[in-house]
């Protein structure tokens, strides 16, 4: 059988792994709100009070919602349950399109209106050649 030292080291490691695992678990659970990169429109609606500080909201750009007004872009972010209106002036990434993911960084004016200072396009997990996506569009 193994010596006493080996058993001691094994015990040490088990205690280390248990305590560290539990610590990390608790930290992650309690920090859940800070770990998320953005809030969805549904989460915005559920806020008890308006957040004054800079936040990010994310979701899909609603179909046929992008309107360009002088130097302003107006569009709607949806998670298919709730929606929020967004205005923004500035450059948007190439992948900013209707029906695609988006993350907007800025300030919440009220629960239906968000003033964005920065727009990020969110890419989804689908990768395919252009011909294939055209075929899918036709269907």
């Amino acid at each position: 059988m193994y010596g006493k030292k080996v058993k001691l080291r094994l015990t040490f490691l088990i205690v280390l792994i248990l305590s560290l695992g539990l610590t990390i678990y608790l930290v992650l659970v309690s920090l859940k709100e800070n770990v998320v990169y953005f809030l969805s429109p549904t989460e915005i609606k559920a806020l008890s009070e308006l957040k004054k500080e800079k936040i990010r909201i994310g979701g899909m750009v609603k179909k046929n919602s992008i309107k360009v007004n002088n130097d302003k872009i107006i569009f709607v972010i949806t998670d298919f349950k709730n929606e929020i209106n967004v205005t923004y002036s500035g450059l948007v990434p190439n992948l900013f399109q209707e029906n695609k993911g988006v993350v907007a960084e800025g300030f919440l004016r009220d629960k239906n209106y968000f003033k964005a200072e920065k727009i990020l396009a969110k890419h989804d997990e689908n990768y395919m050649p252009p011909e294939l996506s055209n075929q899918k569009g036709d269907k």
């Binding site: 190439n94 969110k122 997990e125 252009p130």
Partner: protein, 234 residues
């Protein structure tokens, strides 16, 4: 506990080193031809999808190497097997470099796709933490002179850092992140079209061969160091 005869491994590495090198170069050229020429561009990202063929394999290999190091470190810590220590020490540099490559290529991809070089989202931040753990491991070998304590400290660094690995893996599922969820899942169909999956797999094989090559060279160097110091082991 002598699983490996070191002089046998030494001659084995010298004998097959060139063979692995040739094999690596062949797989790499095939992978690059597939990734850069044959495979189509993406319907949304255009040509920047090709960055993925370097980014994803690097990330996989950096995670794989750290996981193996953590597993071996548990054995090292409990049983004090010195051969495994040398294996760990030889694995670390290529793991570190591949983590850096994953971070840098991800940043280069992020600018045209997301519109930003860097985002403090869960996946990216945890990858940065992995990079820092690799760095700590490598620095610990230089800082601590005493052989016994350096073995304990380095194996504890990898064991503690291993908690980060499942967090990296599941970060995109647990939290809303800017980084997309994984396209390849074991239990369901891949979200990557097969014309793009083939170069991805070949490039992964090429990078794995490259890390094997670096690992063997590093392992040999470590053995030579030990011999030159007149020690029969670490």
């Amino acid at each position: 506990m002598n699983f490996f005869n070191q002089s046998k491994i030494f001659s084995f590495i010298n004998k097959y080193h060139n063979l692995i090198l040739v094999f690596f170069l062949a797989v790499l050229s095939l992978g690059l031809i597939e990734a850069l020429i044959i495979s189509p561009e993406d319907y949304l990202q255009g040509d920047s999808v090709r960055i993925m063929y370097v980014h994803v394999p690097s990330a996989w290999i950096s995670l794989g190497i750290f996981s193996s190091m953590a597993f071996l470190s548990i054995l090292v810590f409990i049983f004090k097997n010195k051969n495994l220590v040398i294996i760990n020490k030889s694995l670390a540099p290529s793991g570190f470099v591949f983590t850096l490559i994953a971070l840098v290529t991800g940043s280069i991809w992020g600018k045209p796709t997301w519109g930003t070089w860097w985002a403090w989202d869960a996946r990216i931040t945890t990858m940065l933490i992995l990079c820092l753990f690799y760095l700590m491991y490598l620095l610990a070998w230089r800082i601590f002179e005493d052989k016994d304590s350096v073995v304990k400290i380095t194996s504890l660094i990898t064991i503690i850092g291993a908690f980060n690995i499942p967090i990296i893996k599941f970060s995109v599922d647990w939290w809303s992140t800017l980084h997309q969820p994984s396209s390849i899942k074991i239990l369901s169909d891949s979200k990557i079209h097969e014309t793009m999956l083939v170069p991805l797999i070949i490039m992964t094989a090429a990078f794995a061969l490259f890390s094997l090559l670096i690992f063997l060279m590093k392992y040999n160097t470590e053995l030579i160091k030990i011999k030159n110091k007149g020690l029969d082991r670490l």
